[in-house]
Protein backbone atom coordinates (compact mmCIF):
# COMPACT_ATOMS: atom_id res chain seq x y z
CA UNK A 1 0.00 0.00 0.00
CA UNK A 2 1.06 3.54 -0.53
CA UNK A 3 1.92 5.61 2.45
CA UNK A 4 3.39 9.05 2.02
CA UNK A 5 5.17 9.10 5.35
CA UNK A 6 5.23 6.22 7.76
CA UNK A 7 3.60 7.10 11.03
CA UNK A 8 4.55 5.51 14.32
CA UNK A 9 1.52 3.26 14.10
CA UNK A 10 2.59 2.09 10.67
CA UNK A 11 6.02 1.18 11.95
CA UNK A 12 4.56 -0.86 14.78
CA UNK A 13 2.22 -2.61 12.36
CA UNK A 14 5.15 -3.38 10.07
CA UNK A 15 7.19 -4.74 12.96
CA UNK A 16 4.29 -6.97 14.02
CA UNK A 17 3.84 -8.26 10.48
CA UNK A 18 7.52 -9.12 10.00
CA UNK A 19 7.70 -10.81 13.40
CA UNK A 20 4.56 -12.83 12.77
CA UNK A 21 5.71 -13.98 9.33
CA UNK A 22 9.12 -14.98 10.66
CA UNK A 23 7.46 -16.97 13.44
CA UNK A 24 5.12 -18.67 11.00
CA UNK A 25 8.05 -19.69 8.80
CA UNK A 26 9.88 -21.07 11.84
CA UNK A 27 6.80 -22.99 12.96
CA UNK A 28 6.60 -24.47 9.49
CA UNK A 29 10.19 -25.63 9.58
CA UNK A 30 10.41 -26.80 13.16
CA UNK A 31 8.46 -30.10 12.91
CA UNK A 32 10.57 -31.14 9.93
CA UNK A 33 13.76 -30.31 11.80
CA UNK A 34 12.52 -32.12 14.87
CA UNK A 35 11.76 -35.45 13.15
CA UNK A 36 15.24 -35.44 11.64
CA UNK A 37 16.70 -34.92 15.13
CA UNK A 38 14.56 -37.69 16.64
CA UNK A 39 15.66 -40.05 13.89
CA UNK A 40 19.35 -39.62 14.76
CA UNK A 41 19.19 -39.49 18.55
CA UNK A 42 20.77 -42.52 20.29
CA UNK A 43 18.86 -44.35 23.02
CA UNK A 44 21.19 -43.36 25.83
CA UNK A 45 20.50 -39.70 25.21
CA UNK A 46 16.78 -40.37 25.32
CA UNK A 47 17.20 -42.25 28.60
CA UNK A 48 19.38 -39.54 30.07
CA UNK A 49 16.89 -36.79 29.29
CA UNK A 50 13.77 -38.79 29.94
CA UNK A 51 12.61 -38.08 26.41
CA UNK A 52 13.69 -36.62 23.09
CA UNK A 53 15.39 -33.26 23.03
CA UNK A 54 15.87 -30.55 20.48
CA UNK A 55 19.65 -30.89 20.15
CA UNK A 56 21.33 -34.21 21.09
CA UNK A 57 25.03 -34.43 21.99
CA UNK A 58 25.57 -37.53 19.86
CA UNK A 59 24.16 -38.69 16.59
CA UNK A 60 23.56 -42.16 15.25
CA UNK A 61 22.49 -43.35 11.83
CA UNK A 62 21.65 -46.81 13.11
CA UNK A 63 17.93 -46.32 12.43
CA UNK A 64 18.59 -45.66 8.75
CA UNK A 65 20.84 -48.72 8.51
CA UNK A 66 18.09 -50.83 10.02
CA UNK A 67 15.30 -49.67 7.78
CA UNK A 68 17.37 -50.07 4.64
CA UNK A 69 18.45 -53.56 5.61
CA UNK A 70 14.86 -54.56 6.35
CA UNK A 71 12.69 -56.23 3.75
CA UNK A 72 9.72 -53.88 3.76
CA UNK A 73 11.05 -50.37 3.33
CA UNK A 74 13.29 -50.94 0.28
CA UNK A 75 10.45 -52.90 -1.34
CA UNK A 76 7.96 -50.11 -0.65
CA UNK A 77 10.45 -47.55 -1.97
CA UNK A 78 10.87 -49.56 -5.14
CA UNK A 79 7.12 -49.61 -5.74
CA UNK A 80 6.82 -45.91 -4.99
CA UNK A 81 9.67 -44.91 -7.28
CA UNK A 82 8.15 -47.08 -10.03
CA UNK A 83 4.69 -45.56 -9.81
CA UNK A 84 6.16 -42.07 -9.50
CA UNK A 85 8.30 -42.36 -12.64
CA UNK A 86 6.05 -44.46 -14.87
CA UNK A 87 2.86 -42.90 -13.56
CA UNK A 88 4.04 -39.32 -14.08
CA UNK A 89 5.19 -40.01 -17.64
CA UNK A 90 1.85 -41.61 -18.51
CA UNK A 91 -0.11 -38.83 -16.76
CA UNK A 92 1.73 -36.12 -18.65
CA UNK A 93 1.37 -37.86 -22.01
CA UNK A 94 -2.35 -38.49 -21.70
CA UNK A 95 -3.04 -35.07 -20.18
CA UNK A 96 -1.13 -33.20 -22.90
CA UNK A 97 -2.75 -35.18 -25.70
CA UNK A 98 -6.17 -34.38 -24.28
CA UNK A 99 -5.46 -30.75 -23.41
CA UNK A 100 -4.05 -29.71 -26.79
CA UNK A 101 -7.15 -30.42 -28.90
CA UNK A 102 -9.31 -28.92 -26.17
CA UNK A 103 -7.35 -25.69 -26.45
CA UNK A 104 -8.48 -25.38 -30.09
CA UNK A 105 -11.82 -23.60 -30.37
CA UNK A 106 -12.33 -24.85 -33.92
CA UNK A 107 -12.59 -28.52 -32.94
CA UNK A 108 -16.25 -29.55 -33.22
CA UNK A 109 -17.63 -30.99 -29.99
CA UNK A 110 -14.94 -29.33 -27.90
CA UNK A 111 -17.36 -27.55 -25.58
CA UNK A 112 -19.41 -30.68 -25.07
CA UNK A 113 -16.33 -32.72 -24.15
CA UNK A 114 -15.05 -29.96 -21.89
CA UNK A 115 -18.36 -29.81 -20.06
CA UNK A 116 -18.27 -33.55 -19.60
CA UNK A 117 -14.81 -33.37 -18.07
CA UNK A 118 -15.53 -30.44 -15.76
CA UNK A 119 -18.71 -32.17 -14.58
CA UNK A 120 -16.53 -34.90 -13.07
CA UNK A 121 -15.11 -32.24 -10.75
CA UNK A 122 -18.48 -31.63 -9.11
CA UNK A 123 -20.08 -35.07 -9.32
CA UNK A 124 -18.66 -38.54 -8.83
CA UNK A 125 -20.02 -42.01 -8.46
CA UNK A 126 -18.14 -42.44 -5.22
CA UNK A 127 -15.47 -44.86 -4.18
CA UNK A 128 -17.49 -48.08 -4.09
CA UNK A 129 -18.39 -48.28 -7.82
CA UNK A 130 -14.79 -47.34 -8.61
CA UNK A 131 -13.54 -50.18 -6.45
CA UNK A 132 -15.85 -52.65 -8.18
CA UNK A 133 -14.69 -51.34 -11.56
CA UNK A 134 -11.01 -51.76 -10.65
CA UNK A 135 -11.74 -55.32 -9.60
CA UNK A 136 -13.66 -56.19 -12.74
CA UNK A 137 -10.93 -54.71 -14.94
CA UNK A 138 -8.49 -57.13 -13.33
CA UNK A 139 -6.38 -54.33 -11.89
CA UNK A 140 -6.95 -55.40 -8.28
CA UNK A 141 -3.69 -56.37 -6.56
CA UNK A 142 -1.51 -55.21 -9.43
CA UNK A 143 0.81 -52.23 -9.40
CA UNK A 144 -1.31 -50.69 -12.18
CA UNK A 145 -4.16 -50.19 -9.74
CA UNK A 146 -1.94 -47.47 -8.25
CA UNK A 147 -1.44 -45.73 -11.59
CA UNK A 148 -4.33 -46.12 -14.02
CA UNK A 149 -7.32 -44.99 -11.92
CA UNK A 150 -5.73 -41.53 -11.54
CA UNK A 151 -4.53 -41.10 -15.10
CA UNK A 152 -5.74 -37.53 -15.63
CA UNK A 153 -6.34 -34.88 -13.00
CA UNK A 154 -8.97 -32.49 -14.35
CA UNK A 155 -7.33 -29.64 -12.49
CA UNK A 156 -3.99 -30.27 -14.21
CA UNK A 157 -5.75 -30.75 -17.52
CA UNK A 158 -7.34 -27.31 -17.27
CA UNK A 159 -4.00 -25.72 -16.32
CA UNK A 160 -2.36 -27.13 -19.44
CA UNK A 161 -5.31 -26.27 -21.65
CA UNK A 162 -5.26 -22.65 -20.47
CA UNK A 163 -1.52 -22.48 -21.05
CA UNK A 164 -1.88 -23.77 -24.62
CA UNK A 165 -4.66 -21.28 -25.29
CA UNK A 166 -2.42 -18.43 -24.25
CA UNK A 167 0.44 -19.32 -26.58
CA UNK A 168 0.69 -16.85 -29.47
CA UNK A 169 -1.31 -18.38 -32.37
CA UNK A 170 1.12 -17.01 -35.00
CA UNK A 171 3.75 -19.60 -34.13
CA UNK A 172 1.44 -22.51 -34.79
CA UNK A 173 0.07 -20.88 -37.92
CA UNK A 174 3.62 -20.52 -39.20
CA UNK A 175 4.20 -24.20 -38.53
CA UNK A 176 1.03 -25.07 -40.48
CA UNK A 177 2.20 -22.99 -43.45
CA UNK A 178 5.47 -24.91 -43.34
CA UNK A 179 3.43 -28.08 -43.74
CA UNK A 180 3.43 -29.38 -40.16
CA UNK A 181 0.44 -31.51 -39.24
CA UNK A 182 -1.34 -31.20 -35.91
CA UNK A 183 0.71 -33.93 -34.29
CA UNK A 184 4.04 -32.55 -35.50
CA UNK A 185 3.05 -29.05 -34.41
CA UNK A 186 2.29 -30.29 -30.92
CA UNK A 187 5.56 -32.14 -30.50
CA UNK A 188 7.93 -29.86 -32.42
CA UNK A 189 6.50 -26.42 -31.75
CA UNK A 190 4.10 -26.36 -28.81
CA UNK A 191 5.78 -28.68 -26.32
CA UNK A 192 9.20 -27.00 -26.47
CA UNK A 193 7.43 -23.75 -25.59
CA UNK A 194 5.64 -25.38 -22.69
CA UNK A 195 8.49 -26.33 -20.39
CA UNK A 196 7.21 -24.29 -17.42
CA UNK A 197 3.74 -25.83 -17.48
CA UNK A 198 5.13 -29.32 -18.04
CA UNK A 199 7.37 -28.84 -15.01
CA UNK A 200 4.35 -27.72 -13.01
CA UNK A 201 2.08 -30.62 -13.79
CA UNK A 202 5.05 -32.98 -13.61
CA UNK A 203 5.57 -31.79 -10.05
CA UNK A 204 1.88 -32.09 -9.18
CA UNK A 205 1.56 -35.57 -10.66
CA UNK A 206 4.90 -36.74 -9.27
CA UNK A 207 4.04 -35.59 -5.77
CA UNK A 208 0.63 -37.24 -5.99
CA UNK A 209 2.24 -40.57 -6.87
CA UNK A 210 4.93 -40.25 -4.26
CA UNK A 211 2.26 -39.53 -1.65
CA UNK A 212 -0.02 -42.32 -2.86
CA UNK A 213 -1.83 -43.89 0.07
CA UNK A 214 -5.49 -44.55 -0.63
CA UNK A 215 -5.13 -46.52 -3.82
CA UNK A 216 -2.90 -48.86 -1.85
CA UNK A 217 -5.52 -49.19 0.87
CA UNK A 218 -8.40 -49.60 -1.56
CA UNK A 219 -7.03 -51.68 -4.39
CA UNK A 220 -4.26 -53.80 -2.88
CA UNK A 221 -4.14 -56.59 -0.38
CA UNK A 222 -0.69 -57.90 -1.34
CA UNK A 223 1.74 -56.43 1.20
CA UNK A 224 4.69 -56.53 -1.17
CA UNK A 225 2.94 -54.08 -3.51
CA UNK A 226 2.18 -51.48 -0.85
CA UNK A 227 3.61 -48.02 -1.54
CA UNK A 228 5.74 -46.14 0.96
CA UNK A 229 2.97 -44.11 2.59
CA UNK A 230 0.94 -47.19 3.48
CA UNK A 231 3.95 -48.80 5.12
CA UNK A 232 4.77 -45.54 6.89
CA UNK A 233 1.26 -45.23 8.30
CA UNK A 234 1.29 -48.72 9.74
CA UNK A 235 4.84 -48.22 11.02
CA UNK A 236 3.81 -45.11 12.95
CA UNK A 237 0.85 -46.87 14.50
CA UNK A 238 2.46 -50.13 15.44
CA UNK A 239 3.78 -50.69 18.93
CA UNK A 240 6.09 -53.35 17.54
CA UNK A 241 8.43 -51.89 14.96
CA UNK A 242 10.51 -54.98 14.26
CA UNK A 243 7.51 -57.12 13.30
CA UNK A 244 6.31 -54.35 11.04
CA UNK A 245 9.71 -54.15 9.38
CA UNK A 246 9.84 -57.95 9.34
CA UNK A 247 13.40 -58.08 10.60
CA UNK A 248 14.84 -59.80 13.62
CA UNK A 249 17.61 -57.50 14.57
CA UNK A 250 19.15 -57.10 17.98
CA UNK A 251 20.02 -53.54 17.09
CA UNK A 252 16.33 -52.73 16.96
CA UNK A 253 16.13 -53.39 20.67
CA UNK A 254 18.81 -50.81 21.32
CA UNK A 255 16.97 -48.13 19.34
CA UNK A 256 13.80 -46.44 20.57
CA UNK A 257 10.88 -47.33 18.28
CA UNK A 258 10.25 -43.60 17.76
CA UNK A 259 13.73 -43.21 16.30
CA UNK A 260 12.97 -45.85 13.67
CA UNK A 261 9.54 -44.43 12.99
CA UNK A 262 10.87 -40.94 12.46
CA UNK A 263 13.67 -42.23 10.24
CA UNK A 264 10.97 -43.69 7.99
CA UNK A 265 9.16 -40.34 8.01
CA UNK A 266 12.40 -38.67 6.90
CA UNK A 267 12.96 -41.22 4.13
CA UNK A 268 9.41 -40.63 2.88
CA UNK A 269 9.83 -36.85 3.00
CA UNK A 270 13.37 -36.27 1.77
CA UNK A 271 12.86 -36.69 -2.00
CA UNK A 272 10.10 -34.08 -1.90
CA UNK A 273 12.29 -31.63 -0.01
CA UNK A 274 15.13 -32.20 -2.47
CA UNK A 275 13.17 -31.50 -5.66
CA UNK A 276 10.97 -28.80 -4.18
CA UNK A 277 13.38 -25.82 -4.45
CA UNK A 278 14.08 -26.59 -8.11
CA UNK A 279 10.45 -26.72 -9.15
CA UNK A 280 9.23 -24.05 -6.79
CA UNK A 281 9.45 -21.20 -9.29
CA UNK A 282 7.15 -23.02 -11.72
CA UNK A 283 4.31 -24.24 -9.62
CA UNK A 284 3.10 -20.83 -8.46
CA UNK A 285 2.42 -19.86 -12.04
CA UNK A 286 0.76 -23.20 -12.61
CA UNK A 287 -1.42 -22.97 -9.54
CA UNK A 288 -2.65 -19.60 -10.73
CA UNK A 289 -3.29 -20.67 -14.31
CA UNK A 290 -5.50 -23.45 -13.01
CA UNK A 291 -7.62 -21.00 -11.16
CA UNK A 292 -8.40 -19.03 -14.30
CA UNK A 293 -11.91 -19.90 -15.36
CA UNK A 294 -11.84 -22.49 -18.14
Amino acid sequence: MFVLKKSKGDKIADGAIYTFLALFALLTLFPLYYVVIVSVTPYMEVMKNGGFIIWPEHFTFQAYKEIFSSARIPQALKITVFITVVGTVLNMAVTTLLAYPLSKKAVPGRNFILMGLVFTMIFSGGIIPLYILVRSLGLYDTVWALVIPGMVSTFNLLIVKTYFENLPPEIEEAAKVDGCGDVTTLFRIVLPLSAPIMATIGLFYGVTHWNEYFKGIFYLSDKTLMPMQVVLRSMIQTPNVSTELSVNSLALDTLPPETIKMAVVVVATLPLLVIYPFLQKYFIKGALLGSVKG
Partner: protein, 320 residues
Protein backbone atom coordinates in the same frame (compact mmCIF):
# COMPACT_ATOMS: atom_id res chain seq x y z
CA UNK B 1 1.96 -17.05 -60.16
CA UNK B 2 1.81 -19.19 -57.04
CA UNK B 3 -1.69 -18.05 -56.18
CA UNK B 4 -3.41 -19.77 -59.04
CA UNK B 5 -2.44 -23.41 -58.50
CA UNK B 6 -3.39 -23.19 -54.80
CA UNK B 7 -6.75 -21.73 -55.63
CA UNK B 8 -7.22 -24.38 -58.27
CA UNK B 9 -6.32 -27.15 -55.86
CA UNK B 10 -8.73 -25.89 -53.26
CA UNK B 11 -11.47 -25.66 -55.79
CA UNK B 12 -10.84 -29.17 -56.92
CA UNK B 13 -10.93 -30.66 -53.43
CA UNK B 14 -14.17 -28.88 -52.66
CA UNK B 15 -15.67 -30.08 -55.88
CA UNK B 16 -14.65 -33.67 -55.43
CA UNK B 17 -15.80 -33.94 -51.78
CA UNK B 18 -18.75 -31.66 -51.25
CA UNK B 19 -19.33 -32.98 -47.68
CA UNK B 20 -16.15 -31.27 -46.60
CA UNK B 21 -17.93 -27.99 -46.44
CA UNK B 22 -19.44 -26.95 -43.11
CA UNK B 23 -19.49 -29.04 -39.98
CA UNK B 24 -18.38 -32.36 -41.42
CA UNK B 25 -15.35 -30.83 -43.04
CA UNK B 26 -14.21 -29.27 -39.79
CA UNK B 27 -14.71 -32.65 -38.11
CA UNK B 28 -12.55 -34.19 -40.80
CA UNK B 29 -9.92 -31.49 -40.47
CA UNK B 30 -9.81 -32.20 -36.70
CA UNK B 31 -9.30 -35.93 -37.16
CA UNK B 32 -5.83 -35.88 -35.63
CA UNK B 33 -7.12 -33.92 -32.69
CA UNK B 34 -9.79 -36.54 -32.03
CA UNK B 35 -7.21 -39.27 -32.27
CA UNK B 36 -5.05 -37.49 -29.67
CA UNK B 37 -7.97 -37.31 -27.29
CA UNK B 38 -8.79 -41.02 -27.46
CA UNK B 39 -6.70 -42.24 -24.48
CA UNK B 40 -7.86 -39.40 -22.25
CA UNK B 41 -11.51 -39.79 -23.20
CA UNK B 42 -11.39 -43.52 -22.62
CA UNK B 43 -10.00 -42.78 -19.17
CA UNK B 44 -12.77 -40.32 -18.35
CA UNK B 45 -15.52 -42.59 -19.61
CA UNK B 46 -14.13 -45.65 -17.88
CA UNK B 47 -13.08 -44.18 -14.55
CA UNK B 48 -15.62 -41.38 -14.14
CA UNK B 49 -18.75 -42.09 -16.14
CA UNK B 50 -18.88 -45.87 -15.73
CA UNK B 51 -18.69 -45.48 -11.91
CA UNK B 52 -21.52 -42.93 -12.14
CA UNK B 53 -23.60 -45.62 -13.83
CA UNK B 54 -22.24 -48.03 -11.24
CA UNK B 55 -24.09 -46.13 -8.54
CA UNK B 56 -27.01 -48.36 -9.59
CA UNK B 57 -25.69 -50.85 -7.07
CA UNK B 58 -27.05 -48.48 -4.43
CA UNK B 59 -30.38 -50.07 -5.35
CA UNK B 60 -29.05 -53.59 -5.09
CA UNK B 61 -28.14 -56.05 -2.44
CA UNK B 62 -24.77 -56.11 -4.16
CA UNK B 63 -22.61 -59.16 -3.87
CA UNK B 64 -19.04 -59.06 -5.14
CA UNK B 65 -19.23 -62.65 -6.36
CA UNK B 66 -22.57 -62.28 -8.18
CA UNK B 67 -21.65 -58.94 -9.76
CA UNK B 68 -23.95 -56.17 -10.88
CA UNK B 69 -25.95 -58.45 -13.23
CA UNK B 70 -26.46 -61.22 -10.71
CA UNK B 71 -27.25 -59.26 -7.55
CA UNK B 72 -30.83 -58.72 -6.52
CA UNK B 73 -32.61 -55.36 -6.74
CA UNK B 74 -33.91 -53.96 -3.49
CA UNK B 75 -35.32 -50.56 -4.45
CA UNK B 76 -34.68 -47.90 -1.83
CA UNK B 77 -33.93 -50.37 0.97
CA UNK B 78 -30.29 -49.33 1.24
CA UNK B 79 -31.26 -45.69 1.61
CA UNK B 80 -33.77 -46.66 4.29
CA UNK B 81 -30.99 -48.54 6.11
CA UNK B 82 -28.83 -45.41 6.03
CA UNK B 83 -31.46 -42.95 7.20
CA UNK B 84 -32.76 -45.30 9.90
CA UNK B 85 -29.25 -45.95 11.16
CA UNK B 86 -28.77 -44.39 14.60
CA UNK B 87 -25.22 -43.44 13.52
CA UNK B 88 -26.53 -41.35 10.62
CA UNK B 89 -27.18 -38.14 12.54
CA UNK B 90 -23.92 -38.45 14.42
CA UNK B 91 -21.99 -38.87 11.16
CA UNK B 92 -23.71 -35.94 9.50
CA UNK B 93 -23.01 -33.79 12.53
CA UNK B 94 -19.35 -34.76 12.62
CA UNK B 95 -18.95 -34.19 8.91
CA UNK B 96 -20.57 -30.76 8.94
CA UNK B 97 -18.75 -29.58 12.04
CA UNK B 98 -15.34 -30.72 10.82
CA UNK B 99 -16.04 -29.24 7.39
CA UNK B 100 -17.09 -25.88 8.75
CA UNK B 101 -14.13 -25.78 11.12
CA UNK B 102 -11.86 -26.50 8.19
CA UNK B 103 -13.46 -23.99 5.84
CA UNK B 104 -12.92 -21.28 8.46
CA UNK B 105 -9.53 -22.67 9.47
CA UNK B 106 -8.43 -22.65 5.84
CA UNK B 107 -9.87 -19.54 4.31
CA UNK B 108 -9.28 -17.03 7.10
CA UNK B 109 -5.58 -17.82 7.68
CA UNK B 110 -5.03 -17.93 3.92
CA UNK B 111 -6.34 -14.39 3.53
CA UNK B 112 -4.45 -13.13 6.57
CA UNK B 113 -1.16 -14.61 5.37
CA UNK B 114 -1.67 -13.10 1.91
CA UNK B 115 -2.50 -9.69 3.37
CA UNK B 116 0.61 -9.80 5.55
CA UNK B 117 2.90 -10.93 2.74
CA UNK B 118 1.44 -8.15 0.63
CA UNK B 119 2.67 -5.59 3.15
CA UNK B 120 6.24 -6.84 3.07
CA UNK B 121 8.56 -4.63 1.04
CA UNK B 122 11.81 -6.48 1.70
CA UNK B 123 11.96 -8.83 -1.26
CA UNK B 124 14.26 -11.54 0.07
CA UNK B 125 12.24 -11.80 3.24
CA UNK B 126 8.98 -12.18 1.35
CA UNK B 127 10.46 -14.77 -0.96
CA UNK B 128 11.96 -16.80 1.88
CA UNK B 129 8.74 -16.83 3.88
CA UNK B 130 6.76 -17.84 0.79
CA UNK B 131 9.15 -20.61 -0.19
CA UNK B 132 9.08 -22.09 3.30
CA UNK B 133 5.36 -21.85 3.88
CA UNK B 134 4.36 -23.32 0.50
CA UNK B 135 6.41 -26.43 1.15
CA UNK B 136 4.18 -28.49 3.46
CA UNK B 137 1.39 -28.49 0.84
CA UNK B 138 3.36 -31.17 -0.97
CA UNK B 139 3.77 -33.44 2.04
CA UNK B 140 1.27 -36.26 2.39
CA UNK B 141 -1.17 -36.49 5.28
CA UNK B 142 0.66 -39.61 6.40
CA UNK B 143 3.83 -37.58 6.81
CA UNK B 144 1.92 -34.84 8.64
CA UNK B 145 0.48 -37.58 10.85
CA UNK B 146 4.04 -38.70 11.53
CA UNK B 147 5.03 -35.16 12.46
CA UNK B 148 2.02 -34.84 14.77
CA UNK B 149 3.00 -38.18 16.28
CA UNK B 150 6.50 -36.90 17.04
CA UNK B 151 4.95 -34.11 19.10
CA UNK B 152 1.96 -35.84 20.65
CA UNK B 153 2.75 -39.54 21.06
CA UNK B 154 2.12 -40.55 24.66
CA UNK B 155 5.39 -41.11 26.47
CA UNK B 156 7.71 -39.97 23.70
CA UNK B 157 6.29 -36.91 21.92
CA UNK B 158 7.88 -33.54 22.51
CA UNK B 159 4.73 -31.99 23.92
CA UNK B 160 3.64 -35.10 25.84
CA UNK B 161 7.00 -35.45 27.61
CA UNK B 162 7.09 -31.73 28.32
CA UNK B 163 3.67 -31.91 29.96
CA UNK B 164 4.80 -34.99 31.93
CA UNK B 165 8.05 -33.34 33.04
CA UNK B 166 6.16 -30.31 34.25
CA UNK B 167 4.21 -32.66 36.47
CA UNK B 168 0.90 -32.07 34.66
CA UNK B 169 0.30 -35.76 34.13
CA UNK B 170 0.14 -38.14 31.19
CA UNK B 171 -1.62 -36.95 28.08
CA UNK B 172 -2.59 -38.78 24.89
CA UNK B 173 -3.87 -36.04 22.65
CA UNK B 174 -4.01 -38.25 19.56
CA UNK B 175 -6.76 -40.32 21.18
CA UNK B 176 -8.43 -37.41 22.94
CA UNK B 177 -12.02 -36.70 21.88
CA UNK B 178 -11.77 -33.03 22.73
CA UNK B 179 -8.58 -32.52 20.79
CA UNK B 180 -9.38 -34.47 17.63
CA UNK B 181 -11.15 -31.72 15.69
CA UNK B 182 -8.76 -28.94 16.76
CA UNK B 183 -5.90 -31.23 15.72
CA UNK B 184 -7.43 -31.57 12.25
CA UNK B 185 -7.69 -27.81 11.91
CA UNK B 186 -4.20 -27.12 13.29
CA UNK B 187 -2.51 -29.62 10.99
CA UNK B 188 -4.56 -28.29 8.07
CA UNK B 189 -3.38 -24.75 8.82
CA UNK B 190 0.21 -25.93 9.07
CA UNK B 191 0.03 -27.88 5.81
CA UNK B 192 -2.05 -25.71 3.50
CA UNK B 193 -2.01 -22.06 4.55
CA UNK B 194 1.09 -21.09 2.56
CA UNK B 195 -0.22 -22.61 -0.64
CA UNK B 196 -3.71 -21.27 -0.09
CA UNK B 197 -2.33 -17.73 0.13
CA UNK B 198 -0.99 -17.86 -3.44
CA UNK B 199 -4.33 -17.27 -5.09
CA UNK B 200 -5.13 -14.31 -2.84
CA UNK B 201 -1.68 -12.82 -3.45
CA UNK B 202 -2.41 -12.95 -7.17
CA UNK B 203 -5.73 -11.22 -6.63
CA UNK B 204 -3.97 -8.57 -4.55
CA UNK B 205 -1.40 -8.02 -7.28
CA UNK B 206 -4.15 -7.42 -9.81
CA UNK B 207 -5.73 -4.58 -7.84
CA UNK B 208 -5.30 -1.33 -9.71
CA UNK B 209 -2.51 0.56 -7.94
CA UNK B 210 -4.01 3.90 -8.91
CA UNK B 211 -6.81 3.22 -6.45
CA UNK B 212 -4.29 3.28 -3.63
CA UNK B 213 -2.64 6.43 -4.94
CA UNK B 214 -6.00 8.15 -5.13
CA UNK B 215 -6.86 6.97 -1.63
CA UNK B 216 -3.63 8.36 -0.24
CA UNK B 217 -4.32 11.71 -1.90
CA UNK B 218 -7.74 11.64 -0.27
CA UNK B 219 -6.02 11.12 3.05
CA UNK B 220 -6.94 7.49 3.62
CA UNK B 221 -4.66 5.71 6.06
CA UNK B 222 -3.55 2.10 5.93
CA UNK B 223 -6.63 0.64 7.56
CA UNK B 224 -9.05 2.56 5.40
CA UNK B 225 -7.15 1.41 2.30
CA UNK B 226 -7.41 -2.16 3.55
CA UNK B 227 -11.12 -1.85 4.18
CA UNK B 228 -12.14 0.05 1.06
CA UNK B 229 -9.73 -1.20 -1.59
CA UNK B 230 -7.87 -4.36 -0.61
CA UNK B 231 -10.67 -6.44 0.90
CA UNK B 232 -13.18 -5.64 -1.88
CA UNK B 233 -10.44 -6.67 -4.32
CA UNK B 234 -10.34 -10.10 -2.70
CA UNK B 235 -14.08 -10.58 -2.63
CA UNK B 236 -14.59 -12.37 -5.94
CA UNK B 237 -11.84 -14.90 -5.33
CA UNK B 238 -13.04 -15.48 -1.80
CA UNK B 239 -16.62 -16.12 -2.90
CA UNK B 240 -15.44 -18.41 -5.69
CA UNK B 241 -13.40 -20.54 -3.29
CA UNK B 242 -16.24 -20.52 -0.78
CA UNK B 243 -18.64 -21.93 -3.39
CA UNK B 244 -16.22 -24.73 -4.13
CA UNK B 245 -15.80 -25.45 -0.42
CA UNK B 246 -19.54 -25.44 0.20
CA UNK B 247 -20.01 -27.93 -2.62
CA UNK B 248 -17.57 -30.20 -0.83
CA UNK B 249 -19.04 -29.71 2.62
CA UNK B 250 -19.82 -33.42 3.00
CA UNK B 251 -16.22 -34.25 2.14
CA UNK B 252 -14.55 -32.86 5.26
CA UNK B 253 -11.23 -34.15 3.89
CA UNK B 254 -11.37 -37.94 3.83
CA UNK B 255 -7.60 -38.31 3.34
CA UNK B 256 -6.76 -36.35 6.47
CA UNK B 257 -9.55 -37.66 8.70
CA UNK B 258 -9.05 -41.31 7.74
CA UNK B 259 -5.35 -41.14 8.55
CA UNK B 260 -5.80 -39.37 11.88
CA UNK B 261 -8.86 -41.38 12.96
CA UNK B 262 -8.72 -44.09 15.58
CA UNK B 263 -11.48 -46.05 17.28
CA UNK B 264 -11.31 -43.96 20.42
CA UNK B 265 -12.37 -40.79 18.60
CA UNK B 266 -15.13 -42.23 16.37
CA UNK B 267 -17.73 -40.23 18.31
CA UNK B 268 -16.30 -36.95 17.10
CA UNK B 269 -14.35 -37.96 14.01
CA UNK B 270 -16.35 -40.51 12.05
CA UNK B 271 -17.45 -38.78 8.83
CA UNK B 272 -19.47 -39.83 5.79
CA UNK B 273 -16.49 -41.13 3.84
CA UNK B 274 -14.93 -43.06 6.71
CA UNK B 275 -18.33 -44.63 7.31
CA UNK B 276 -18.59 -45.55 3.63
CA UNK B 277 -15.14 -47.09 3.85
CA UNK B 278 -16.05 -49.21 6.86
CA UNK B 279 -19.36 -50.35 5.41
CA UNK B 280 -17.92 -51.14 2.01
CA UNK B 281 -14.43 -52.42 2.64
CA UNK B 282 -14.77 -53.92 6.10
CA UNK B 283 -18.37 -55.10 6.32
CA UNK B 284 -18.65 -55.68 2.55
CA UNK B 285 -22.11 -54.05 2.52
CA UNK B 286 -21.41 -52.54 -0.88
CA UNK B 287 -25.02 -51.59 -1.64
CA UNK B 288 -25.42 -49.61 1.58
CA UNK B 289 -22.01 -47.97 1.20
CA UNK B 290 -22.74 -47.01 -2.40
CA UNK B 291 -26.10 -45.58 -1.39
CA UNK B 292 -24.37 -43.33 1.12
CA UNK B 293 -21.92 -42.31 -1.61
CA UNK B 294 -24.79 -41.42 -3.95
CA UNK B 295 -26.49 -39.42 -1.22
CA UNK B 296 -23.27 -37.52 -0.58
CA UNK B 297 -22.59 -36.79 -4.24
CA UNK B 298 -26.13 -35.57 -4.84
CA UNK B 299 -26.05 -33.24 -1.84
CA UNK B 300 -22.69 -31.91 -3.05
CA UNK B 301 -24.04 -31.27 -6.54
CA UNK B 302 -27.12 -29.47 -5.24
CA UNK B 303 -24.99 -27.36 -2.91
CA UNK B 304 -22.56 -26.29 -5.64
CA UNK B 305 -25.39 -25.28 -7.95
CA UNK B 306 -27.22 -23.53 -5.12
CA UNK B 307 -24.15 -21.68 -3.87
CA UNK B 308 -23.30 -20.60 -7.40
CA UNK B 309 -26.80 -19.20 -7.92
CA UNK B 310 -26.59 -17.39 -4.61
CA UNK B 311 -23.19 -15.92 -5.46
CA UNK B 312 -24.56 -14.57 -8.73
CA UNK B 313 -27.55 -13.10 -6.99
CA UNK B 314 -25.43 -11.12 -4.55
CA UNK B 315 -23.42 -9.69 -7.42
CA UNK B 316 -20.44 -12.01 -7.68
CA UNK B 317 -19.50 -13.83 -10.85
CA UNK B 318 -19.91 -17.44 -9.68
CA UNK B 319 -18.04 -20.39 -11.11
CA UNK B 320 -19.99 -20.58 -14.36
Amino acid sequence: MAAEPIAAREKKSIDSRPWRQGKLSSVYRSRWFYLMMVPGLIYYILFHYVPMAGTLIAFQNYNLMKGIWGSSWVGFDNFRIIFDNPEFLQIMRNTLIISIYKIIGNMVPDVILALMLNEVRVRWFKKTVQTITYGPYFLSWVIVYGLAFSFLAPGSGLISTFVRDMGWGQIDLMADKNFFRPMLVLTEIWKNTGFGAIIYLAALASINQELYEAAVVDGAGRWRQLWHITLPGLRDVFVLLLIIRIGGILDAGFDQVFIFLNARVYDVGDIVDTWVYRYGFERLEFGVAAAMGVFKSLVGLILVIGANKLAKKVGGSGIW
